[in-house]
């Protein structure tokens, strides 16, 4: 055994968990690890067909499937999957926490990296498929879309960590988050843009940081869309607050969470 710096230990551990997650998640399935990509891919295609083919999502500035693609890719794949994976980070990882160099935080990081990577890979595959079918799925401002997605990813991580830590003390939080998923999609302007919502309802909806993320991504994605409500400052502020909350909650409670 040779002594390593804290950073190199963490790097090794995250890499090890990364591989382990990739191997275990679908190891009992017939097609194995292909499901890592296939599952979100199928989900996306399904949504694009049931919403897109009926013309839902055609709001005048882009074809329906591309609209659905941009919305569900960032909401379901990035936000929902990353948040859920972080939230359930304690499930199935008890055995690796038996090693002193493996901490819950490494599980959070490894899972977040996996979800981020799945988001990118599935996004590119579907975009290529859409190009093949004759659509134009590429974002108008790719860098801006990616940086908004990065913020959304950070928000999902922070929310997931916070839920995981607090959920260890009150199991009810798990129930609450499961219940929340569906309504959250409806109030976050996922399947419709805010421009079709009458202005008198805007104040009731714009407290929701996810709505701002969706609108910002949409604005950067489609040249002809300008969001009436998107507020970058508000969204970034909320992300920072949640990150600070998540980090401090982790730091204050991780030993007690481990003992549970």
């Amino acid at each position: 055994m040779k002594a390593r710096s804290a950073f190199s230990i963490q790097k090794d551990v995250i890499f090890a968990i990364f591989i382990r997650e990739m191997v275990t998640r679908f190891s009992t399935y017939t097609f194995g690890n292909i499901w890592l990509i296939l599952e979100p891919l199928l989900m996306m295609v399904l949504f694009m067909v049931i919403f897109g083919a009926r013309g839902r999502g055609a709001y005048g500035f882009v074809e329906a499937p591309v609209f659905i693609y941009s919305a569900f890719l960032s909401f379901r794949l990035l936000w929902n999957y990353t948040m859920r994976q972080n939230f359930s980070a304690k499930n199935g990882t008890q055995s690796i926490l038996e090693y002193r160099q493996v901490r819950l935080f490494d599980v959070f990081l490894a899972r977040s990296i996996i979800e981020g990577a799945i988001f990118l890979v599935v996004g590119i595959i579907i975009a290529l498929g859409l190009v093949w079918l004759g659509y134009d799925p590429w974002p108008h401002d790719l860098l801006l879309v990616l940086s908004y997605c990065f913020c959304l990813w950070l928000f999902a991580i922070a929310f997931g960590i916070l839920g995981c830590m607090l959920g260890s003390f009150a199991r009810e939080i798990e129930k609450f988050i499961s219940l929340m998923t569906m309504p959250l999609m409806l109030v976050s302007a996922v399947i419709f843009p805010m421009s079709i919502v009458p202005p008198q309802y805007w104040p009731y909806l714009t407290w929701n940081p996810l709505l701002h993320a969706m609108e910002l991504i949409r604005e950067a994605w489609f040249e002809r869309y300008t969001s009436p409500v998107a507020d970058l400052q508000y969204f970034v502020a909320i992300v920072l607050v949640f990150l600070a909350l998540a980090m401090s909650t982790y730091r204050l409670t991780w030993r007690r969470v481990l003992a549970r």
Binding site: D12, V13, I19, R20, S95, E98, Y99, R100, Q101
Partner: protein, 216 residues
């Protein structure tokens, strides 16, 4: 040198804190192999978990400058879905060892698992599992090995092999052994810690500690 400084450990229960260890002050010298003795619930496994860095004292400090293994218990640290080899790879990776082929082959040989080594750990019987966990920990070079009751399972031949391996390791490392098997403790250890009445006493002689332990 591993030093417990005023270490207390309690678990919160609905009846208030339940103390497992209270104000422990023990020094474990580097050249001694320690037997930990105590009745059930006296805090033997907790002590190993504290040493292994996966549980933390409620107050006080544990100081050490040694590479200490993970607490090696029967069902610890193995992911059932992964094969024996994949689990070894995982443990190599978190210990920063990249060229791990040798360790994999060592574990395969030592554990006598043969082809089962390539099957998920969840399919192992408890005897196979204990052989396997033991072999894994012997594949790594630690300064101190924490062994929790693992020597009491397995067939007679393997037990002999285990003890030979431990004796071998003892030339370069020391062990901290929890067991109810007094004979093993007598053979493998040359000092003891007796946990009783919320205290921990260090004994230079294992026989003396065993005598006290039997008369608790």
């Amino acid at each position: 040198m591993i030093r417990f400084e005023n270490v207390s450990k309690y678990y919160p229960t609905r009846y208030g804190p339940k103390y497992v260890l209270r104000d422990l002050n023990v020094e474990i010298p580097d050249d001694r192999d320690i037997a930990i003795l105590g009745a059930n619930g006296a805090g033997k496994s907790t002590m190993l978990r504290l040493l292994g860095g996966i549980d933390f004292p409620s107050s006080g400090k544990i100081k050490s400058d040694r590479f200490i293994s993970w607490p090696l218990a029967l069902s610890s640290g193995m992911q059932g879905k992964l094969t024996g080899r994949e689990n070894v790879r995982f443990i190599c990776r978190i210990h920063g060892l990249e060229a791990n082929r040798d360790i994999e082959e060592f574990v395969k040989d030592f554990s006598e698992l043969g082809d089962s080594f390539e099957l998920p750990v969840s399919s192992y019987s408890s005897g196979m599992r204990s052989k396997y966990s033991f072999a894994v920990s012997m594949g790594f070079d630690f300064d101190t090995y924490l062994i929790d009751e693992i020597l009491s399972v397995g067939d007679a031949g393997f037990k002999r092999k285990c003890e030979a391996a431990i004796s071998n390791k003892r030339s370069t490392a020391n062990i901290i052994l929890v067991s109810h098997n007094v004979d093993v403790l007598k053979r493998q250890c040359n000092a003891a810690i007796l946990l009783a009445y919320g205290r921990a006493d260090f004994y230079e002689s294992v026989d003396q500690a065993i005598f006290r332990y039997r008369n608790l």
